[in-house]
Symmetry: C2
Subunit: 280 residues, 2 copies
């Protein structure tokens, strides 16, 4: 992969900062410019070595950039996509790190000029923590990164961005935005709601939590705004996922109520085998 | 605390083994005898230093014991409680490590002779792993251990067993068995069902799991039989807990469906504050 001359990272938090660190370590870009709304965050990102320089102006950052990475919350990605369009140079690539893809891809494909190529990305890494101080060059090592393909996707852009995300350490899967959103509704958005609503259901007894409770609810500490955005840009599939989950909980309730030891035990054994087969 | 002359541990898995290791390290008993159904497990427990000797006969083990610890699944505790009664010496103390308490306490208090004192215990430690090979002398360090008190509980027995579990590293809380069962239904049994049913709901998409999914479902790898026992001996409160949880999930579903950004974000912020205040 040829290094990019200028990479603009819009949003230098955990994800944007980690991309910057990995780009610098692996020499994937000659110059990395960070954009964010607060001078202090840019200072911290420069000190951390995640960007070469910072600016509060997205116009200045994306000017002459070969690659623009949108590492901000989902609804901000959509807005930013339409704002930067006029300032991009011909042939510029855009990618993002948003957790939902259908709305982002539809909106950005609508608003950016035709000579610009957008390929949506969702690197499935991160944690309940925030900020460039938590950023790590190896954050994406081994993580799945889903890239989106639509009828408008240019194969050369997809090829270049596959190479880029791979260099960051990701294992690449290419899906339609819709298929992506249906999958993560189950594997990421639903677990988040499972955790937050568990904290709410158990709130009267929280002096008595064991390590199991803490594991199960860890992601309930994630940022509220980011997740509100995620749920509202993936409504349909999140609701479908919740319905499936409630159905499964009702099934367990029914077996417990009836005292059906054999079925219960068989169900849990099957689940254990499934879960054991995943990574720890 | 005066050391016990002879301690019998019935069940030398993760919990029984860890109790044995801590008893030996802290010199809480002169002789520790382990009981279990398989010779190989006894051999492993001896090799691990968790017990001084092992026997397949619970009669032999409890004979002349000053303290008997039942570290087996809940329904086995209930059966074992009625079997060992005739072989215990006067003044012997019994405790257990079962995850539900109401049924255990009721049955054991009914079946053991009057000169024997039982105090139910639930050390809230452990993991999804099993067996004496996973046992650690410090497993209980800092863990809450709930001891049960009923009208039949003798205060001298409660005092002695409080001292014993404290020496193992536990922070002691004394509750009625019923109050215990209501609390753990929310903080331990519900999270378990939240995890197992999440694995089931997401099963079609398990090639795409992130670290959040793995954290949230870790306890779904626990032993199926042990947990079937737990749910069936705490039916009423587990069903109440499930109903609360489903209600909370429906609430979230409703806010997402309506696109109520303000309420959603406020809810998640509140949950985040609550979760942040707990240990990691």
């Amino acid at each position: 992969m040829k290094a990019f001359n200028k990479i603009a990272i819009i949003g230098v938090g955990l994800i944007g900062g980690s991309i910057g660190l990995a780009v610098k370590r692996k020499r994937l870009g000659r110059e990395v410019v960070g954009v964010c709304r607060h001078k202090e965050s840019l200072q911290r990102a420069i000190q951390a070595g995640a960007i070469d320089r910072g600016t509060l102006s997205y116009k200045e950052a994306v000017k002459e950039a070969d690659l623009v990475i949108l590492a901000i919350p989902v609804t901000q990605i959509i807005k930013m996509g339409s704002k930067i369009g006029p300032y991009l140079k011909k042939g510029c690539l855009i990618t993002d790190a948003g957790s939902t893809k259908e709305k982002i891809c539809r909106e950005i494909e609508k608003t950016v000029p035709r000579e610009i190529s957008f390929v949506g990305a969702h690197p499935m890494a991160g944690s309940e923590k925030r900020g460039v101080s938590e950023a790590r060059a190896d954050l994406f090592e081994g993580a799945i990164c889903i890239l989106t393909r639509s009828r408008k996707t240019k194969s050369i852009a997809l090829k270049k961005l596959t190479a880029f995300w791979k260099k960051l350490g990701c294992r690449i899967k290419v899906l339609t935005a819709q298929r992506h959103d249906r999958i993560v509704a189950l594997t990421s958005h639903l677990p988040h709601l499972a955790a937050t609503q568990l904290v709410k259901a158990a709130r009267e007894s929280l002096d008595w939590t064991s390590s199991g409770f803490l594991d199960t609810t860890r992601i309930a500490s994630s940022d509220a705004e980011i997740w509100t955005d995620i749920f509202l840009t993936n409504k349909r599939f999140v609701i479908q996922a919740l319905d499936k989950y409630i159905e499964q909980l009702r099934l367990a309730r029914d077996l417990i109520r009836k005292g059906n030891r054999k079925r219960l035990s068989a169900e849990f054994k099957k689940v254990k085998r499934t879960r054991d087969a995943l990574r720890k």
